[in-house]
Symmetry: C5
């Protein structure tokens, strides 16, 4: 899985019928200090994540192993909202106060 930040949304009205109702979030992968790694993903969400949230994203066939996503043509899914991250013994992120360091591109 990766940790990423929700940076936006995409809307598609003309889409495969098996994606009906799917909410599409734009994600940028973050390292544990909050810096973007440069990797991007478009992912499905059914946990209610919103812009700015730091989320756990599962990729590949794993995205279809939840009740709402079974057998849908998706390869990426938000499976958790991150509460906090600890790196080398110190807290680098908490949901209430954000990342300890401003995230710069790695």
């Amino acid at each position: 899985m990766i940790i990423g930040r929700v940076t936006g949304r995409a809307v598609s009205s003309r889409k495969d019928e098996k994606l009906a109702g799917a909410k599409l979030l734009l994600i940028e992968e973050l390292d544990p200090e909050g810096a973007p790694t440069g990797d991007l993903a478009v992912t499905i969400d059914h946990l209610g994540a919103g812009a700015g949230d730091v989320v756990l994203v599962t990729q590949g066939s794993a995205a279809r192993f939840t009740a709402p996503t079974k057998d849908r043509p998706i390869d990426s899914l938000v499976v958790g909202i991150i509460d906090n991250i600890r790196l080398d013994g110190r807290e680098t992120f908490s949901k209430s106060s954000g990342f300890a360091r401003a995230g710069k591109r790695r």
Copy 2:
């Protein structure tokens, strides 16, 4: 999934029988501002996407979870035509007016 632009087509007359009738589109991945990331894909389309369209592409085994693509030897599929993209609260793309910024290579 990724967001990409349809840049062209490929034609293959001598192909595996399970790809009979498949339409092959060339895709370049775009970031949410419309800049190419450098990643390319060749993908199947059954939604009627055409040159210049900004599309949602699913990858890997996910590409086989639609009615027309079940059990076919494909790893990439257009599953939506993008109507609009919002990034950090502003609209970066709409189908009618394109990307707000000209996309430069990241």
Copy 3:
């Protein structure tokens, strides 16, 4: 899928029994102008592709969704020989005359 050029072959006499008879081709991925992207693959072929051919290669579990490759331990397969490629409205490749531009490394 990717588009690639067949650059050579590999031979393995001591191999898993489920690969018996498999023909191994070396592929370099090409962009739509014919320039190598730098990515390489070793792939199975049962369409009769040969050195220099420009081919369509499917990757991952998709490679096992053809009659001759079902349940074999392969992750890459030639599924088509490319006849022509059109990019941004002009033909960049045809089987008879090759790529319009000499391909340089991207």
Copy 4:
């Protein structure tokens, strides 16, 4: 699979019900000399790995082929704690004394 070092943990209280109880570890991939390759993963662990441990991580659908992870929406799993690594005939890592060379970024 990859070899990586456990650098930290992430906690998510609001997550898909099929991840209930899952322990999330942050991993950085290492080369056989102990230098980070730059690739990161968030992985599940049920072997009791802790901060600083050098572990074997399986990725993709493979992560669901153990008893505790069957059918869960995960794409990465710690499947072993590394005891030692030999490269080109010499020991580069042992669990008791760590890597022979300090690991610098490749």
Copy 5:
């Protein structure tokens, strides 16, 4: 699949029970001239490959499509020992004499 050189081994005594007895090899991917591409893998072997051997490695779910690896949590497997490689019509590698050129990092 990829072609790689066996550079070493890893040993893990504390590992998932479904990996009992598995032999872990360190692999560096090679291009057809024998130069390392920079990509690394840890792979399972049941063909008897040893240090220095040039091998064919299958990746992802494909690694579980052999009798000894069925349903095991692995994503990489040696499926062949390479005898020779031909690139653009000339032999670049044979098992008896190695690569024609000393391999430099691409």
